[in-house]
Amino acid sequence: MFNKMPAQDYFHLTNEPLDLTSIARRVVPPECGATVTLDGYVRQFTKDRETLFLVYEAYEPMALKEMEKLIQKAKQDFQISNIGIVHRLGRLEIGETSVVISVAASHRKAAFAACEWLIRELKSTVPIWKKEVYVDGEEWIEGENL
């Protein structure tokens, strides 16, 4: 069922666990038929090296501004209704969700294209960094992981 709140764009940084369903549902206006959601999470293995946990850090006010720009640009370039972007910060365990991007649209083709564009742009422009903590050390990752 729809939320009582009107569907709208939103973007958010949080230290709390992310819930896919509630994020995907906040963007749905009554005229839409489909939402495409990208859900990124902590891998256990990166090139055979085992990750114990991750730490995400953001330049928070700038990250929010960049997220807002992405939403504006996506709504200009794709025929979509609403976008939700939430990125988690702080320590994340293996398998936990780090980012959720939901795009609601009347036509699912536009939702797929916009969601794919949004995650690619987020990974290259939004000032958030990931530190991988391994059994034998840790490193801040610089640049997008492929």
Binding site: Y59, K65, K123, S124, W129, K131, E142, G143
Partner: protein
């Protein structure tokens, strides 16, 4: 005339400088590039990284004229997602 500005570090750049934030007094009407260069001189290990720069929470080209109270930042290529 001197004026105070702040420069922020995150992730790798905070690790390299061992600082999250520094305050600097700079000349009025200085270009952002001059300030960033000065910090790279002070922390030469930063140069080993793929750096990005911002002024007042916008990506910077270096041409920005810095004014009293501006917030600059130096960080590495982002890795969110």
């Amino acid at each position: 005339m001197n004026m105070p500005i702040r420069v922020l570090f995150f992730g790798s750049t905070a690790a390299v400088t061992s600082k999250r934030e520094i305050e600097m007094d700079v000349d009025d009407e200085t270009h952002a590039r001059t300030i960033f260069d000065q910090i790279l001189t002070e922390y030469p290990r930063l140069a080993a990284h793929r750096l990005l720069f911002s002024v007042n929470q916008q990506y910077a080209t270096g041409d920005e004229i810095i004014r009293d109270g501006d917030e600059l930042a130096i960080f590495t290529a982002v890795s969110g997602g």
